[in-house]
């Protein structure tokens, strides 16, 4: 198939790419408000359609059947996944899509290198950026697959640590870097022997980086997934940007860099919300058994007050202001609809209801917000940590559902525990705290939670969905 617009001057093509780049930027700008965000997504998608469309038209396509088959298969698979996904499976799907973008970048860089080998010319800037694209893209692909697997429950989601872990990772990183250096310095030769046409040093790099990607994410526990997903998001952008350097393509660089910046900012926000460095998340040892059962018994013994949905209903009956604090447990129990119904009932009864959402609650940035939005909770009721914390002292009842570490007051105490210095939701300031949990087992950090033993805390044990539904039913009977 001859290029349809083969005669199009390069400057016109570059201009169209610029328009697409501007559409991506405007699309992201519209994401700053829920009202304009859907429009932003459409503008961004329009930019993508424009950029891809013009590329298909100007490229001299030698195997059109193959190309369109690829586009069709990809669109069908992507569309099917997007339409059939449950809201609770959103984190792993976003992780999976991420990985595909990164993997595609690594393959494109490899294919381009092979093309250059045929043409007999390697440029330093191209081989260097191809090596980077291969490294970042492969780490993104395999890291994302492992992360998605952990989120989907097909890979062990606990923190898997082993002896010599850092040395093993360093080994594969060094291997990848050496292969990359070889690609840059001697792209066509091994010693004095000509290299095979498929550029083996690049694929050695890809292999080492792939193993590295798996090793980097395997040791990370479930509760740190928001950081991992955000960082891999950033990497998939950087992989696209570096591929843009390889192909000398401006729109790839612009779009990829925007994504890289976005993912990096989210990563930093997630790390700050846990008062941990990125290095600590990736190489630190949180999630190990750090507290003995004895210590937990010391804190909890004789100090736990349990309650029932009937009692909670009576407490709610005299409350003027209620704050609901959801955590990952709400997502696991799929309790968001029952919680939303409770909030609506309270709202109708004239109670001031708000949700206090910790930035790292859940398994990806903004996870709780999406779940509650799906359950039709108005976004005006969703408050972040800085907004909600000063209001707890004027709050009558706080209902904590499926959250633990993010409301653990030991984070405020001096010390060096896994939670030390982490900003938390100060729910203990409220007059009454109701905690719905299945048991007293510690959160991901392994630290017991003194909140549960406080005088103003009542434990409402049980499955999140069932308990909240029961509470809703009791509330309805009495109103």
């Amino acid at each position: 198939m001859v290029a349809v617009l083969g005669g199009l001057p390069d400057s016109v093509l570059a201009f169209i790419y610029l328009v697409a780049g501007v559409m991506f930027i405007q699309g992201l700008r519209d994401m700053t408000h829920p009202r304009t965000a859907p429009r932003g997504n459409l503008i961004s998608a329009g930019g993508m359609a424009l950029a891809v469309g013009i590329t298909v038209l100007v490229t001299e396509i030698l195997s059109p059947v193959l190309l369109f088959a690829g586009l069709l298969v990809g669109a069908a698979v992507g569309g099917w996944l997007a339409v059939t996904v449950e809201t609770t499976e959103m984190p792993q799907l976003v992780g999976l899509f991420n990985g595909f973008g990164g993997g595609a970048s690594a393959l494109v860089a490899g294919a381009e290198l092979i093309g250059m080998f045929d043409a007999g010319s390697f440029q330093l800037g191209v081989t260097a950026t191809a090596a980077l694209a291969g490294l970042i893209g492969s780490v993104t692909f395999w890291g994302s697959l492992v992360a998605a697997g952990k989120l989907h429950g097909v890979v062990d989601d606990s923190a898997v640590r082993y002896d010599g872990e850092q040395a093993v990772k360093a080994l594969f990183l060094v291997l990848a870097v050496l292969a990359g250096l070889h690609l840059v310095v001697r792209p066509t030769l091994i010693g004095s022997v000509p290299l095979a046409a498929w550029v083996p040093s690049y694929w050695l790099l890809v292999a080492a980086a792939s193993i590295l990607g798996v090793l980097l994410v395997i040791p990370i526990g479930g509760a740190d997934m928001p950081v991992v997903i955000a960082l891999l998001n950033s990497y998939s952008g950087l992989a696209a940007a570096t591929t843009g350097f390889v192909l000398d393509n401006s729109v790839l660089i612009i779009a990829g860099t925007l994504v890289g910046a976005s993912g990096l900012i989210l990563t930093v926000i997630m790390c700050e919300s846990m008062n941990r460095s990125l290095a600590n998340v990736f190489f630190g040892g949180i999630g190990e058994e750090s507290e003995s059962d004895d210590e937990m018994e010391d804190i909890y013994e004789g100090n736990i007050t349990t309650t029932s949905p009937e009692e909670v209903e009576m407490t709610l009956d005299v409350a003027d202001r209620v704050v609901i604090v959801p955590g990952y447990g709400m997502a696991v129990a799929q309790a968001q609809h029952a919680v939303a119904e409770l909030a609506e009932l309270l709202d109708e009864a004239g109670v001031d209801v708000e949700f206090g959402i910790h930035p790292v609650a859940g398994r990806m940035p903004g996870h709780m917000n999406v779940l509650l939005a799906e359950a039709d909770v108005p976004y005006e009721k969703l408050r972040d940590l800085e907004e909600i914390n000063p209001t707890f002292s004027q709050t009558d009842v706080v209902i904590v559902i499926g959250a633990n570490d993010v409301v653990n007051p030991s984070a405020n105490e001096a010390g060096s525990g896994p939670l030390a210095g982490m900003p938390i939701l100060d729910v203990g300031e409220a007059r009454t705290v109701i905690v719905n949990k299945r048991s007293l087992s510690p959160g991901f950090s392994g630290v017991p939670n003194p909140l549960f033993a406080r005088d103003n805390t009542n434990m409402l044990f049980g499955d999140g969905k069932e308990t909240m539904q029961e509470l809703v039913n009791v509330y309805k009977e009495n109103h």
Partner: protein, 102 residues
């Protein structure tokens, strides 16, 4: 274009990205991530070029075409799936606006 020109795009885009994304509220972090994710599928352009332009003339270009084909599939999954998922997420946020009266 030279390497330095490309680097210019990179640096300026990084600053633009930083300025915009720090303004996005936590409420929208998931759709932002998912939407940005879809944008990273821009690598599809590169996939189209390498999948389309390499013929079956030699053994190595067959490899390049095969790699390009896989890349096209993966990048298209990323683009189509990413935009659709973001759209359905944002629909849920949007429905809240309509609910204001009830």
């Amino acid at each position: 274009m030279t390497f330095v020109q490309n680097l210019t795009f990179f640096v300026l885009a990084a600053f633009v990205g930083y300025e915009i994304i720090t303004k996005i509220p936590t409420n929208l972090h998931t759709p932002l991530m998912s939407g940005a994710n879809a944008i990273s599928g821009i690598t599809l352009i590169g996939s189209v070029v390498v999948a389309g332009s390499a013929g079956m003339a030699s053994q190595s270009s067959t490899i390049a075409t095969a790699l390009g084909f896989v890349a096209v599939v993966m990048a298209t999954v990323n683009v189509v799936g990413g935009y659709l998922v973001t759209n359905s997420m944002l629909d849920q946020f949007r429905s809240d606006d309509g609910r204001g009266g009830d």
